[in-house]
């Protein structure tokens, strides 16, 4: 028993004496990075921008003033700093010389890459974030046609910081979004080319409040579309509408997407539908050196808004709306497909992976020139729509009846 006690003492001794505090970083000693931006400068260097939280602005309670955001109203919440260097780490080291705290990447929310960098190739930059033990796969990766630094130099009206705001926006999945992990997986796979979210700083609404002498016209980061990559290089953008088609094609990630169609009976009037469930099934067929893809999209939709006086209690009307909606979705998907497959000639949708799964022997022959093969592939599209629900009303209340 005595010896056991001594063993415990031994451990304590060792712990306290030897271990010291190598990795120890007090909370007051770290600079929490919320957003990261990487730009490619004109002289071919890398410009790294960090959006750092200023913790004093986040203090609740004892700091005086009201809780949470109220207290922070008149102070700067974030600090955006940037530096240039040959590599990301080089730039970071330069930043470290300016910032009196340890840079801390563990809470990074977004990684924004600018267009020049994307066109030049992102692999060189991405590696830094792979190796960092603190960097997470859940970071949202986004591309912007503007300068990433400019995009990060913004703030949000509803969230504490613009980086967090974009994070929440992404989590709501109102547009096409991608996590770092999926991005690297797509980069590594031969059967898929990555697609990034496109973000832009846009003038957005008017901030108002008592005591605001002049009206702030305010810029926020918004999701505006998608960036199409070939390998690790950007080759084009998709706008909002085309991105919707893209979302159909990518694993049917379309929950809560809106579809507006013309009314089947009243010309000029519209019906708005919301997609509640969407699924895409990709069936690759390889026949005599020809690649064909049979896509089946299945969607369940709800009626949300109605301008005409259609009565949805009638089964044939439901049928009609379903057909028009199917055509509309088909149209959208077709547009995107044409643009990506026809214009950009890349496989951004993971069709290659699907092909690999089904025809593994052929795949090994085709995989090195998959994008060319894909550009020539034929895609057949079938859309099946089911009207599920019509909200609280069967038909619109009408003046006529």
């Amino acid at each position: 028993m005595k010896r056991k006690l001594f063993l415990i003492l031994l451990l304590l001794l060792i712990t306290i004496n030897i271990s010291g505090c190598w990795s120890k970083k007090e909370l007051n000693e770290i600079a929490i990075i919320l957003g990261t931006g990487v730009d490619y400068t004109k002289d071919n260097k890398i410009q790294l921008t960090y959006q750092l939280a200023r913790p004093a602005a986040f203090g609740g309670g004892g700091m005086g003033g009201g809780p949470g955001g109220g207290a922070a109203m008149n102070q700067n919440i974030t600090w955006v700093v940037s530096a240039t260097g040959d590599t990301v780490f080089d730039a970071q080291k330069r930043l470290a010389q300016q910032i009196p705290r340890h840079l801390y990447l563990g809470h990074n929310v977004v990684l924004i890459l600018d267009e020049r960098l994307c066109r030049h190739g992102v692999l060189d930059v991405i590696n830094f974030f792979h190796r960092q033990p603190l960097s997470r796969g859940t970071v949202w990766v986004m591309a912007t046609p503007q300068e990433a630094k400019k995009v990060l130099e913004s703030h949000s009206e509803l969230q504490m910081t613009s980086a967090q705001a974009v994070g929440f926006l992404a989590r709501l999945r109102t547009g096409y979004v991608l996590r770092f992990r999926d991005f690297s997986q797509d980069l590594a796979s031969r059967g898929t080319n990555p697609v990034l979210t496109q973000v832009e700083l846009k003038r957005q609404g008017v901030a108002q409040g008592p005591g605001l002498e002049k009206v702030h016209h305010h810029q926020e980061i918004v999701l505006t579309g998608a960036a199409i990559f070939k390998g690790d290089k950007l080759i084009g953008w998709l706008d909002c509408r085309e991105t919707q088609g893209l979302r159909w094609l990518l694993k049917g990630e379309v929950r809560r997407m809106g579809v507006t169609i013309p009314s089947p009976i009243c010309p000029g009037k519209k019906i708005s539908l919301e997609v509640m469930k969407g699924k895409i099934n990709i069936d690759p067929v390889y026949q005599k050196g020809k690649i064909k893809f049979f896509l089946t999209i299945k969607a369940e939709i709800d009626v949300i808004e109605q301008q005409d006086e259609e009565d949805f209690t009638r089964p044939e009307m439901i049928k009609a709306v379903e057909n028009i909606a199917a055509a509309e979705i088909r149209q959208r998907v077709k547009t995107t497909l044409d643009k990506v497959q026809g214009e950009y000639k890349v496989d951004s949708f993971g069709f290659g992976e699907a092909f690999h799964r089904k025809h593994k022997r052929e795949w090994s022959k085709l995989k090195n020139r998959w994008d060319e093969e894909f550009a020539n592939a034929q895609v057949y599209l079938t859309v099946k729509v089911k009207l599920r629900d019509t909200g609280l009303q069967g038909r619109r209340a009408s003046l006529k009846r």
Binding site: K4, T15, L27, L34, A56, M63, V109
Partner: protein, 524 residues
């Protein structure tokens, strides 16, 4: 080699020379000796008087004022012997000097418990424990009258383990009252109460209590053996014994539990344990003790089992929080900021911005303050105690946050730790309260890695402990899944069919199977 302390062996308490000396026939001689021995004992009363039947026989009563019941002694000893002639005595019966002893013993006294003694030691022991000695001239022995009666505290609510529902009686300082509390609960001759005096000077009575047929016989032998090994001058509280018979003297964990609740002791006896009742203290030791007693309370078994199963889980959570919360807080804040949600981290970072101390110091200050307040609350005179602790907690907590010395989050963590400890059995939390401090420090130096390592060491240590042969962590280690029903949750009574296997292997079944209540139609 370096064991200096072992050399200085205590010589033990000297045996007094008169202890085994026989009484003399002469009363005078005896009284002289006793006067000599009991010199300067202000509270000992010597009362000489003449036997009414036979005036040439002198009698002497010796008792301790305050321990013997004076009314009983005067009414039923002195009055009957000095005034009243036993009326029922046959006329022709003649009392001789030689018969006097037997006569007085058999016919003269109206006392329930009588004994005889021939040595000075026995007489003194009896007098000192509150009995009254009656010396009779011409006889070399005395009659010991068991007319004890002293001022004692009445039976009150348990002070340390309060319950909402359940018996409120708790033990008091008097051994006999305590045994009666047990006997009233277990009305069975199988409840054995064996007395063993311990303490060379104090002669404290220690009762070894167990239920024959339930307890494992080897356990009783072991308890007796360990107790009989003790040679100490005094036993003022069961804590003396506890440390002398402990299996693991060098462990911070106490493997002998104590309680002042009569119902808890009865329940533990019924599980096959042995209780050691010490005269002069309301705290009864129960062995063997298992670690899980820390999360058990007698009330668990009286209230509806659904809710109290939840309470058990809450207590387990409280145990974990209590032990690790300050340590993990420090580790998270100084090493592993990535493990906190972003919003929380930012909020804590904001709070900490103005705090001038490292997190460790901050936590230690608060922890220490809390312990001081707790100790102050106990030691203060009762009416002030609570007020002081509440005011202290509020004022110090509030003021230190206001002054920017401590972050509000730290106050929350430390307060939570303190509150969590109150859900557990008080005595069980003491070692954990001690361990909490090194744990916090280790966490501050080595982060979660150090914390996990320390916990592994802690668990290993606990796993290596035994309490009277039973592994301390039983039934978790060694794992006995069926018995977790009374540890992790509290199974309903109709499912608690057996006693804990290792303890109650003599008589495993508590009840008939199939006692689960059913609607009348489905019975039989």
């Amino acid at each position: 080699m370096f064991d200096f302390f072992k050399r200085l062996e205590s010589p033990g308490v000297k045996e007094q020379s008169w202890r085994s000396q026989k009484l003399k026939t002469s009363l005078k001689e005896n009284l002289t000796t006793l006067h000599f021995i009991l010199a300067d004992c202000y509270d000992v009363v010597f009362r000489e008087f003449t036997f009414a039947q036979l005036p040439d026989i002198r009698l002497a009563l010796i008792y301790v004022d305050g321990l013997a019941d004076k009314i009983q002694v005067s009414n039923f000893v002195m009055r009957s012997l000095s005034l009243e002639v036993p009326p029922a005595l046959p006329k022709e019966y003649k009392i001789t000097k030689a018969q006097a002893f037997d006569f007085i013993r058999d016919r003269g006294l109206c006392i329930h418990q009588i004994g005889e003694a021939n040595t000075l030691g026995e007489v003194i022991d009896a007098v000192m424990s509150g009995d009254t000695a009656l010396l009779i001239d011409g006889h070399a022995k005395t009659i010991i009258n068991g007319a004890r009666g002293w001022e004692a505290r009445s039976i009150e609510d348990s002070k340390t383990e309060a319950v909402v529902r359940g018996p409120r009686e708790s033990f008091v300082e008097t051994l006999r009252t305590n045994t009666s509390l047990l006997r009233r609960r277990i009305k069975n001759p199988a409840l054995k109460i064996e007395i063993m005096p311990i303490g060379k000077i104090t002669h404290t009575d220690v009762a070894i209590t167990y239920i024959k047929g339930v307890v494992y016989p080897g356990l009783v032998t072991e308890v007796k053996e360990r107790l009989s090994r003790i040679e100490i001058d005094a036993v003022l509280e069961s804590g003396y014994l506890e440390e002398l018979i402990d299996d693991n003297p060098l462990s911070p964990f106490c493997t002998i539990n104590h309680t002042d609740r009569a119902d808890k002791v009865a329940a533990l006896l019924l599980e096959g344990r042995v209780a050691i009742i010490t005269d002069g203290t309301p705290y009864v030791l129960t062995v063997p003790t298992l670690f899980n007693e820390i999360i058990q309370s007698p009330e668990d078994y009286y209230q509806r089992y659904f809710f109290y199963s939840l309470i058990r889980l809450i207590r387990i959570a409280a145990l974990i929080i209590f032990l690790t919360a300050p340590a993990s807080y420090v580790a998270l804040l100084t090493f592993h900021q990535e493990m906190l949600p972003t919003a929380l981290l930012l909020s804590i970072a904001g709070q900490r911005e103005a705090v001038p101390f490292p997190t460790l110091v901050e936590v230690l200050i608060m922890d220490l303050t809390f312990e001081i307040l707790r100790e102050a609350g106990i030691r203060m005179p009762q009416p002030v105690g609570q007020a002081v602790s509440i005011v202290g907690a509020l004022v110090i907590g509030e003021a230190s946050v206001k002054a920017g010395l401590v972050a509000p989050a730290t106050v929350i963590v430390v307060a939570l730790t303190g509150i969590a400890s109150f859900t557990l059995c008080y005595s069980g939390t003491l070692p954990l309260r001690l361990i909490k401090f090194p744990l916090t420090m280790i966490a501050a130096f080595t982060g979660l890695f150090g914390l996990i390592c320390s916990l592994i060491i802690l668990i290993t240590h606990l796993a290596s402990l035994r309490s009277f042969g039973i592994p301390f962590l039983y039934p978790v280690m060694p794992l006995s899944p069926a018995e977790l029903k009374d540890v992790v949750v509290r199974a309903p009574w109709w499912a608690l069919l057996t006693r804990p296997h290792l303890l109650g292997k003599e008589n495993l079944h508590r009840m008939k199977t199939g006692l689960k209540p059913r609607p009348p139609g489905e019975r039989k």
